[in-house]
Structure formats: C-alpha cells, structure tokens
Amino acid sequence: MKQPVSFQHLAPDYIQRFEAYIPSKPDDELKRLFGCSHLFRLNNNENPLGPCLSAARMISSFVPSQASIYPSGDCWLLRQKLAEKHGMDPNQFLFGNGANEVIAFVIKAFCQKGDNIITADKTFAVYEWVAEFSGIEARRVPLKDYGFDDDEMIRVIDDHTKILFVCNPNNPTGTYWDSGKLRGFLNRINGRRIVVVDEAYCEFVEKPDFPDSMSMIAEYPNLVVFRTFSKMHALAGLRIGYLAGSSEAVDIIRRTCVVYSVNTLAQAAALAVLEDNGEHVQQTRDLVRRQKQVLTEYLANWGLQFLSGEGNFIMIRLPMSDSLAYRRLMMQGVMIRTMTGFRFPNWIRVTIALPDAMDSFMTGLNNILKT
C-alpha cells in the first residue's frame, strides 16, 4: 500500500479549516451516474440563448494560430471600450478570469490579518470564502426581508472593517437596493471603507430605480463595481469579468491583479459583446419575463412558496430536503441548485431557461411532489 503523505502542518490554520468547493462533474458523467439520457442545466444561471450573434461569430472565427500568442495582459482594448462607453478612464477598469478573480484582487489589496469584511449571511458565497481562506474574518449580517440589511451592516463595522460587499441584485433572493438606498448607504459609509457592489445580474433588471452605479463612482471614490460576462452575456465558459472604481482605488487593487489571466478568445468575445446592439439583451429579458410568468403560475398552483425577484432565477421552497429534490430531479434529467449551502435549507434555485427545459423541470417537480 502507498504510504500516505501529509502536508497539513505546512498549511495555515485557516486553510486547514477550509473545505474545498467541489464543482459538479461533466454532463456525460452525470448522465451516466443518474441514468438520464438528457440534462437540462438549471443550476448556474447561464443564459440558454448563448452569446449574442457578434460574439458567437467572433468565437467561431477564432484562428488557432492565435492560441500560441499571449493575450493582452491587461485587456487593453476592452478597457478602452468600457471607458468610452461609461465616460471613464481606462485605468478605472481591471479584468479578471471571471468576476470571482476580481473578488480576490480586492480582498488581497485591502485586507491583512486581523481585518474583516462584511457581507450578508445568505448571498453569493465567494466573498466569504475568499476572505476566510485568506485568513480574513467574514462578518455575515442576516438578510432582512430577503434583502441586504444596510442598518445592520453599518452597525457591525469596526476599526478593522475594510470592505463591505453588497450583491445587487442579490443572488439567490433577487432583491435589490434601489438608487436611493445605495446612495444613502454610501453617504453613511462616508468614504471610510471600500463598498463593493456586485452587479453580476444587473443586465436582467428592468426596474427604473435600479442604480446606475458606474455613474456613481465619480461621486463615491470608495465604490467598486463588479460586472461579469458570464450571466446575461453567456460567456461563462470563457471566464471573464471586471471591476470598475475610482483611479485611486483601482490603482491599489491593480497591485494584486494577476495579469495575463484572461485569454485571447474571452477578450475578443467580450469586446464583441460591448459592441453589440443590445438586441440579445432584450431577447433574453423577454425570455426570462415570459418563463418566469409560466413558472410562478405553476408554483402558485402547487401552493409552493417562491421568491421571484430580479435576475434569471427563481427560488422555491420545497416540502422536502433540497438535496433529495436535486437527486430526484437529476434522475429525470434536470439539474437545479440546492440552497442549503446558501443557508436556505429546503429551498432550490432554478435558472430560467427555454420552454422545453422549464417544462421538463415542472414535469420533474410534479413527479416528486406527488410521491
């Protein structure tokens, strides 16, 4: 037998305590395991329409010889384009290998041992994870009416608080802070801490009072905005996201930024997205709106509690363990996201998708609710 080797003693305590995230297996492997012939992925809030036409063309025209050349190390063209679009300076943008990477940039830039960050208890987990495996305390404020609680977040600030993370709209509840609330919060913080507003799902929001946070950066130099190309723009497989902030804030964050982490194809496709005419966004919004309507009517007929806020997903409370529902739906070829890990036991999150996938989900749910 092989002698086991341990390097535990070399790892810091906070790494030893941390449990690695286990992503799902490839579709073919899952289909084999769960004995299903097809698989609708309704677990990651991907856009079922795929990328916009111009990005799709860019991807299909990618020349293999370009793969041997390093990409632009700092996504130069993309930053020019964003600066032009938002009337800002290119140096106010930083790109990462997905928005997850820029979360790490910000925490590494501002936090050291003994510091803390503040976020909600039931939100996107990566702020908390990155803090904890970096040895930084993550203070989790309970949601209030399924939304971020501004008063409580401010109450738990202390001298060691460096960053406050607000997911807007919140994944997974779909609640959001309107312009007035975000502005009020920033006023109360008064520039003393970094406020990160993660807008991964902002393109799905059609409400007129949703904040235009990019324009607020000039007024609030401590505001850092996250955006991603993974959700609405359907480039999740290429991993590209970015942050925007004041030159003063971004200048510090850039010091922890790993250059060359965004590949050439991702940069080219993202550039095509930024140059797109917006039709794709509208088509996606229409699809999400229609299918949410269908799904919420179905859920109401079953008398199931649900949260249908902003974003391309709905949260549903089931009269059974969410992990059991996951397994039973997987056996019928439908993959959803369990919410126990988001501290919502017995809730699932379902991505809004094309009608055939939604029908399959509703049929699958019928089957498990009847027995």
Binding site: E19, S323, T338, T340
Partner: protein
C-alpha cells in the same frame, strides 16, 4: 456556530522502552489532573496508560521506536493519544486481542489493550495519515442533576427567536429535556448539566435554543461533527403543550433550519439525525433505517436514523462484493442515491500475513464498533478472536463499519457475513465513500 474555545494540551515524545514507564505515568497523571479530571479518574487514566505503554514497548514497537503522547481536554473529556509511525510496528500486536498466547488459553490479564480499555470510558484505535494512534478517553466526573417533583410549565408563546444559549440556559435546557422526555429517549449527558456546558465550551458540540420574549425556552437542538464529513444532530427537543401543535412544529422546524444553516457552509457534507420522536422530520431528513441494540440492563432499544445531504450529490463509487449487491441496490434505490457499484473480489493475490482491526469500545453503551485498518490473510481468525473477546467481555452490540470508498476494506465483506454480520444500514459519505454498517446477529442477551 458557538465559538470554539482553544483548549490547552500537553505532549511528550519518548522512546518505546519500559525504563520510561514512570515518566509516562507521571506525565499522564499530572496532565489529567491539570486538564480537569478528578483524582480517581486521573488514576484510572494513568493505569490505562501504564498498560498501553508496556504493550507498546514490549509487543508493538520492539525496536525502540518513538511514541508521541498527547493529553488534551475536549470539554467534558480528557483524552490521551499515543501515536507512532506505522512503519515501526509489529502490526499484528496492534489488534486489541493481541496476546502472547492463543485466545483460547490466554489469560485476559495479559491482554494489555483490553485491560487498558477497562479503566477508561472509550478506547479507540485508528490509523490517521501515516500514523497509528491509540486513544484513551476518560470523562470528567459531574454531579447528576437532582430534579424536583415540579415539572416546568410548557412553552405556550407563539413568538420566539433562535439563540446560542448561555451556560445557565444550557443547564435549564437540560432540565427541560429531562422533564419532557423519557430517559431512554435522551442522551446521557442531559442528566449531567455541567457536562453539557463543558461539551459546548469544548467546541466540538454546538447548541441553539428557541427562546420566548421573557427568556422562556421552547426547544433546543445540539449537534457535533461525527466524522470529517458528517454532523450528528441530537434533537430537536420541544417543550410545548401537546394541545397546541402548531407552535411546537414551528419551533422544531426553526431549530432544524437554523442548525442546517449553521452546518451549511462547514466542511460537513451530510447530517445524521437520531430524533427523539417520530413523524415530524421527513420535511428535512430522509429515513435511513433503524438499529436495534441492547442496553446494559438487557432492554432492547430501537434507534431510528435519518439523514440529509448538505450539498448536491454528484455520486460516488461503492466497492462491494456481490454478496450484498441486492441490499445495496434496494437501499440506494429507496434513497434515490446514484452510485457506481464496483465489484471487488479475492483473486488470489498475495496479502500481508496479519490484518489489523480498529476497535472503538464504548463501555458506557456496551457497544463496540470495528473497522479494518490493514488487510491480511488472517482476517477470518482475527475477526473471530475479536468476537470471542467481546463475548467474554459481555459486549452485546457489535457493529462493523465498512468504508465502501476503499476497495480493500470491502474485500472482507464475505468474512463478515460468514461470522454472523448482516448489512443493516448505509451512512452516505460517512467515510471516504458511503459507510456500510454491518451488525452482528444474534446481538441480544
């Protein structure tokens, strides 16, 4: 979760030579006293350490290898761990049955590991990374609660909030649990409020309560990490009036949800629950089955087990012999668990001469759990020796845990079946893979 408290410990490293026996005994005794054991308990721990150290020196590590001894307080228990690299071992002697003579003719007093186990509450043998470890565990002595005749009033409030209890609230929680639940429905530690407080302070156990506006307690739930990946939930215990079921159900649900939410982002991937009452848990947990065991007085106790996964299940490999294929198929179908069942068989390959079994003797519950640490050609004889020993010791409840994620462990399944074990339950992800529990039958008196 309740914030863990960093607890002190002591450690020494000695050569496995019995000339150091006085050093070891003094170290263990003084450490035990300093870590909170009373004088009688510290002496018993010392006695167990003496037997164990002599066994290690004379039989297990004959080549003057090194032994690390660490004494630590885990809230309500003091634990002495003796660990050493497995390469230095006479593996055969690591079995609890190890004796210079055959079991049939052996004087039990020469079986030093079993002697050691008699002086402590639990003795565990396990393989951890590249170390083998024998742990002696002794509980601190606590006064048993003396309850008055008057039963506390049931909780009737509709409003409550979930909180982590203070030490005094924990003691009151224990009183309420004793008042509202039969003794055989509750773990022993609720009879000893001080023990409960120390268990929570030790950081391995966690508790939350449902509290009304005036501080009255409507229910509570306790949990702890059972293995690296599995949390055991104890409760929920509810103190409502049976005539007002709705608030009672709300309290139970709120406690369970709060507990699951706390565990949701920890390293645990499954929860096992042994609820005190039936019928109100299927919204949160899935029924695994039940195990019959016998108490010290010979009374049969049925314990039902429930579980839930914390995360999405991406399936796993189960190694098993064909003898239990029907049991596996039926159980996995009932639990809607996708498993890749792979056959393991003895194809005549060369094996080590001696097997090693891990033994976890719980004398408080007259129970022993076995696991295989090292495969060997003598497994049948070795298992048989263990079973004879347990019979002599009057231990009625024998469970063999097979980690089906490790192929060579599953290879001994035919040997278990031949010796009277039957598969009774599967604990998802309780080891490297699912743990299959085999119970020895007949197990009664």
């Amino acid at each position: 979760m309740n914030a863990p408290v960093l607890l002190p410990h002591t450690s020494i490293r000695v050569t496995a030579n019995d000339m150091f026996l006085p050093v070891v005994m003094t170290f263990v005794e003084q450490s035990s006293l300093a870590l909170g054991l009373g004088k009688p308990e510290a002496l018993k721990m010392t006695l167990a350490s003496e037997e164990l150290f002599l066994h290690l020196c004379r039989v297990v590590i004959p080549n003057l290898g090194m032994i690390n001894i660490r004494c630590a307080c885990k809230g309500h228990v003091v634990r002495s761990d003796f660990s050493f690299p497995e390469t230095s071992l006479n593996l055969h002697a690591f079995n609890i049955t190890a004796s210079p003579q055959p079991l049939e003719t052996a004087d039990m007093d020469q079986m030093r590991l079993i002697l050691a186990s008699r002086s402590v509450d639990r003795l565990k043998i396990r393989r951890k990374k590249n170390l083998l470890q024998i742990s002696l565990i002794k509980e601190k002595k606590y006064p048993q609660a003396l309850d008055g005749q008057k039963k506390p009033y049931p909780f009737t409030c509709r409003d409550f909030a979930i909180h982590c209890p203070t030490a005094e609230e924990l003691k009151f929680l224990a009183l309420l649990i004793r008042s509202f639940y039969a003794n055989n429905k509750i773990p022993r530690f609720f009879q000893y409020p001080g023990m409960l407080v120390d268990m929570i302070r030790g950081g391995d156990y966690h508790a939350i309560i449902a509290q009304g506006p005036a501080g009255e307690i409507g229910g509570g739930i306790v949990w702890h990490l059972l293995s690296d990946k599995t949390v055991e939930v104890i409760g929920p215990y509810i103190f409502g009036d049976s005539g007002s079921s709705r608030p009672v159900l709300n309290i139970a649900a709120s406690l369970i949800e709060a507990c699951i939410s706390e565990v949701g982002r920890t390293s645990a991937i499954a929860m096992i629950c042994y609820p005190p009452e039936s019928g109100q848990y299927d919204e949160y947990f899935e029924y695994l089955g039940h195990i019959n065991s016998y108490s010290t007085s010979g009374v049969q106790v049925q314990r039902s087990s429930w579980f839930r996964m914390i995360h999405e299940d991406f399936g796993t490999v189960v190694w098993a012999t064909k003898d239990i294929e029907d049991f596996l198929q039926q159980t996995y179908r009932r639990l809607f668990l996708s498993r890749d069942i792979r056959k393991v068989a003895d194809d005549g390959e060369t094996q080590h001469a001696h097997s090693v079994l891990s033994t976890n003797i719980d004398r408080l519950r007259y129970k022993v759990s076995l696991d295989i640490l090292w495969p060997g050609a003598d497994i049948e004889d070795n298992l048989s020796r263990h079973l004879q020993l347990f019979q002599k010791e009057g231990i009625r409840n024998v469970i063999f845990e097979i980690d089906s994620g490790i192929a060579w462990k599953s290879a001994i399944i035919p040997c278990l079946l031949k010796n009277g074990f039957q598969p009774i339950q599967i604990l998802p992800y309780a080891g490297d893979g699912d743990v299959i529990l085999f119970q020895l039958f007949p197990c009664g008196p």
